[in-house]
Amino acid sequence: MKKILVLALISGMLYSCSEDENLSPSVNAPETYTFERNSSSTVAFNGQTNRIMMAKELVGGMLDFAMTKEQLLEMYRNETASGGDAAPFENSDLNSATQSIKSKVAASSDYFSTNTTESSEVKADFESWINAQIDEVFPNQNKVAAPGIAGQIADGSSTRYVNKLGLEYNQAVAKSLIGALMADQMLNNYLSSSVLDANNNQQENDDKITVDGKSYTYMEHYWDEAYGYLYGTATDKENPNPTVGSDDDFLNKYLGRVDGDEDFSGIADDLFNALKLGRAAIVENGYSLRDEQVKIIREKVSQVIAVRAVYYLQQGKAALPDDRNNEAAYGSTFHALSEGYGFIYSLRFTRMPDSDQPYFTKSEVDTMLSKLMGDGANGLWDIEESTLDSISEEIAAKFDFTVAEAGS
């Protein structure tokens, strides 16, 4: 133990001195996310890959007008209403999988293990959006949207389907899952000491005692599960950044988008390197180096969500029609603000690096969402530029970026 402390101290010192170098002498991160024991890989995150693919089918299903409420809810739960086995997915591997989206929504150890009240509220939010899509939007598939009337509206060459307030429920679900499922599980569950160091995990990892029938220790595996929520559907799962942004429609996609903004370029490498180095540190029993990486990952993933929230609010503002009476011209604004809605919802699942708290509490997030939808009786049809700016400023103020940097 003493030895570890000394090593950690030295590595910490070296780390803080060398700006341009992530490696310390004691822990060498491999070039790619490749870890082996006795020549077999110790990396596994099938469950995360499955959940990302389930989320993709659910979100796609919300715009398939042949879908029923029952089918969509079965995709969300991967079981029937009565808890029986369901086969809602087109991809049959997902039907036989044991995972579901719902069981991991707002389900992190740190935030929700003693807060099942809020957890069940969040889970129910997703069900209410799914239900409302079927009840409010589907019947108006072939109506033109107008203030107070759900229907379709043009957004460039795309056609969007909004509720009577201009909100796309499918976007609310998709972008809120980035926080409530991906970020929450990653930042507040699998990277948490309460999970990584649970039970006897640290001692077993020191002694390299692997999970029964597996090649990895519990700690290694939990770390990989965090990695899987970001890179679970990557083209090359060991070296995922060459295709970052095009490997899913969730956290990976928006990491790619933020990385593509010159104000934030390099964030994808920072995240990948931190995940890789932290995993290498676990192999070498370097827990303080591991925890340094956790902080980096929490900060950067939270930043991705916040940047995109501000980005979409600003895009929605830029797209507002010159003629506010021209109802056909609101489509681009609605689409951007519907994405923004989900990213704001996701802020509650972010994690400040030196704290056990999110950047925004649930009540702060609820207030921002009420402001977004509350400029008039018709929600986003009535949105004012000043509201979009004030929410943007409120978000950016907690982070190390400006509204202008995030907004373009």
Partner: protein
């Protein structure tokens, strides 16, 4: 390690000096613009409205009316001759459209006329569903790719194996005739609404909104012009089918995919209209009035030591020279000689930069549209 670090520092040092020198160099070359210049924007707006836009729309509406008449004659008597008459009228109207598509302002903007007139590739399966179900609302955004000239292209040239079989379908299927009728009626309604608005009072509103704010007529129409040039002309007609934005060429994305041998005619009309608008050339006759060219010349705009309007016109000329080498049928061109398409794209792209960066900067106009996220 330390050596490496120093070299980064040295590099940063040199780089920051390079940036400063670069910025100084730039600021001396391009004199900072004041908010207003003395150019009479209203004279230019009058030229645009009276000599280019309204005559262009009059011509277009006239051609659409001819198409309505040809359709009525055909529906009355579905002879081969009348079918050919309708097809010719369709082509004439489609060509006329190319000269007004860029003016998406006023009523045209409110109606999103381009999106309901010329979205391709057309959704032929959706069209057949509509014909079968007889239940469709052409006002819906989701039906934009099931109407307009591309949908007519499908009905007239692609809805069966050959021309006589298509004619036989029209003979046999009342639903198909109704759909044809509805599509042409809608084109007529849309075009007439826009022309009537110009003739009814919008012309005065347009020329009197002669300031230099983002919502002024000049700023808006110049943005519409550039948007058209970039998205509809450069990307839509050439870049997308040539595969510039995809992994492989997409020959089925050409304009007039079913008729095929008119894609060059449509493109050249559109390109010439863009050039004429830049130079303020009248739609009818050989007259010429105040224009983006004369505005740039008035401001004495210079890029890299050359007159900017000359650079733009020279580039238009080389685009035309390159485009002339294309075959009449862009589908065949993409399939057999795609390099030629790509070279045309490159010529168009070169002017995108001169127009969007240099011209906008010289005129002190901000780009008011964003490149869609695509999600």
């Amino acid at each position: 390690m330390s050596k490496y670090y120093l070299s980064i520092k040295a590099f940063r040092f040199i780089w920051s000096w390079a940036m400063i020198i670069f910025m100084v160099a730039c600021s001396t070359e391009n004199e900072p613009m004041t908010d207003t210049d003395n150019f009479d924007r209203q004279v230019m707006l009058v030229n645009w409205a009276d000599n280019i836009i309204i005559p262009g729309y009059e011509n277009y509406v006239g051609k659409v009316t001819d198409m309505v008449n040809a359709k009525n004659v055909f529906l009355e008597d579905r002879s081969t001759e009348n079918f050919d008459g309708l097809k010719n009228a369709w082509l004439e109207a489609y060509i006329a459209w190319q000269s007004v598509s860029m003016f998406e302002i006023g009523k045209a903007e409110e109606l999103s006329i381009r999106d309901y007139t010329n979205v391709y590739p057309t959704d032929n399966a959706g069209i057949e569903d509509n014909v079968n179900s007889e239940s469709y609302d052409l006002n819906l955004p989701s039906l934009r790719d099931q109407q307009g000239f591309p949908a007519l292209d499908y009905l007239l040239y692609g809805s069966a194996e050959n021309s006589s079989m298509i004619l036989a379908r029209f003979e046999a299927e009342e639903n198909l005739r109704n759909y044809l009728n509805d599509l042409i009626t809608r084109l007529s309604d849309l075009s007439t609404a826009v022309l009537q608005d110009w003739e009814g009072g919008y012309r005065d509103e347009f020329i009197n909104n002669d300031g230099s704010t983002a919502s002024s007529s000049v700023n808006k129409l110049v943005n519409d012009y550039l948007f058209y040039y970039e998205k509809a002309l450069r990307a839509g007609k050439i870049g997308i089918p040539a595969g510039v934005f995809s992994n492989t060429p997409l020959s089925n994305r050409v304009e007039a995919f079913y008729k095929q041998d008119v894609s060059k005619t449509l493109f050249m009309t559109s390109l010439n209209a863009s050039i004429d608008f830049f130079n303020g050339r009248y739609f009818n006759g050989n007259g010429q009035g105040e224009s983006l060219k004369s505005y740039l010349d008035f401001l004495n705009s210079v890029t890299d030591g050359s007159n900017l309007s000359d650079l733009i016109n020279d580039q238009f000329t080389s685009t035309k020279v390159q485009a002339e080498s294309l075959g009449e049928d862009f589908y065949a061109e993409v399939e057999n000689n795609n390099d030629n398409m790509l070279q045309t794209y490159d010529e168009l792209q070169t002017n995108t930069i001169l127009l969007k960066v240099d011209m906008f900067q010289a005129l002190n106009i901000q780009v008011d549209y964003v490149d869609a996220d695509g999600d």
